[in-house]
């Protein structure tokens, strides 16, 4: 029923824990990047769904859609906006500038 949602929540949580992300690290830059990515995802995801580039087992979805795009898909850019800058930052700290 909610397999996709559960997968996305659990996976995101594990990644956030492993990265030891703290809320304090998030900033306006994160927010604006997220907004842009959510808009791009809304467009792009609908395109790939409508062109049958991807298919879903609907019994595993929540059946909440942004037009034809399952809402669970939006967790990808949501995690991405935390994950990618966090890795960038950690790599910067590692090479010790």
């Amino acid at each position: 029923m909610a397999a996709y949602l559960i997968l996305n929540l659990v996976f995101s949580l594990v990644v956030l824990l492993v990265l030891r992300v703290r809320i304090a690290q998030l900033s306006k830059a994160h927010l604006y990047t997220l907004i842009a990515l959510l808009l791009l995802t809304a467009v792009f995801d609908n395109c790939i769904v409508m062109l049958s580039i991807v298919g879903y087992d609907v019994s595993k979805l929540l059946h909440i859609y942004i037009y034809k795009a399952p809402v669970e898909d939006f967790m990808y850019p949501l995690l991405g906006v935390v994950l990618v800058p966090a890795i960038w930052r950690k790599l910067g700290a590692a090479t010790n500038e």
Binding site: A3, Y4, L7, N8, F11, V15, S27, K28, A29, H30, Y32, T33, A36, L37, L40, I48, L51, S52, I53, V54, G55, Y56, D57, K60, L61, Y76, P77, G80, V81, L83, V84, P85, I87, W88, L91, G92, T95
Partner: protein, 106 residues
Amino acid sequence: MMTNYLYLISLLVGLSGMAIIDWRYKLAYWHDRRRTILTIVISVGVFVVWDLLGIGLGIFFHGDSKYALPYRLLPEFPIEELFFLTLLCYCTLVLFQGASKRWPRT
């Protein structure tokens, strides 16, 4: 015949567009090449695991669209997916770097 390549081509167009923005403002690859490559490789790796879990649980699958290539790297994991995940991560990085410059932490 060419229609199968349209998805891949649109992904490459997207990647090129982000690369031009990156190059123009020296945001990622043209700021620190190694750091960018590592960030993208690691991030894409995380998303690949996520995708494989979704495929493994039978949540999503390759749609057999005439706009996509029939080649799979793994069951239900099309070759375009790597390009898509790279675009997602690269786009995130470039946008974030740009946003950080425009709205720096105070």
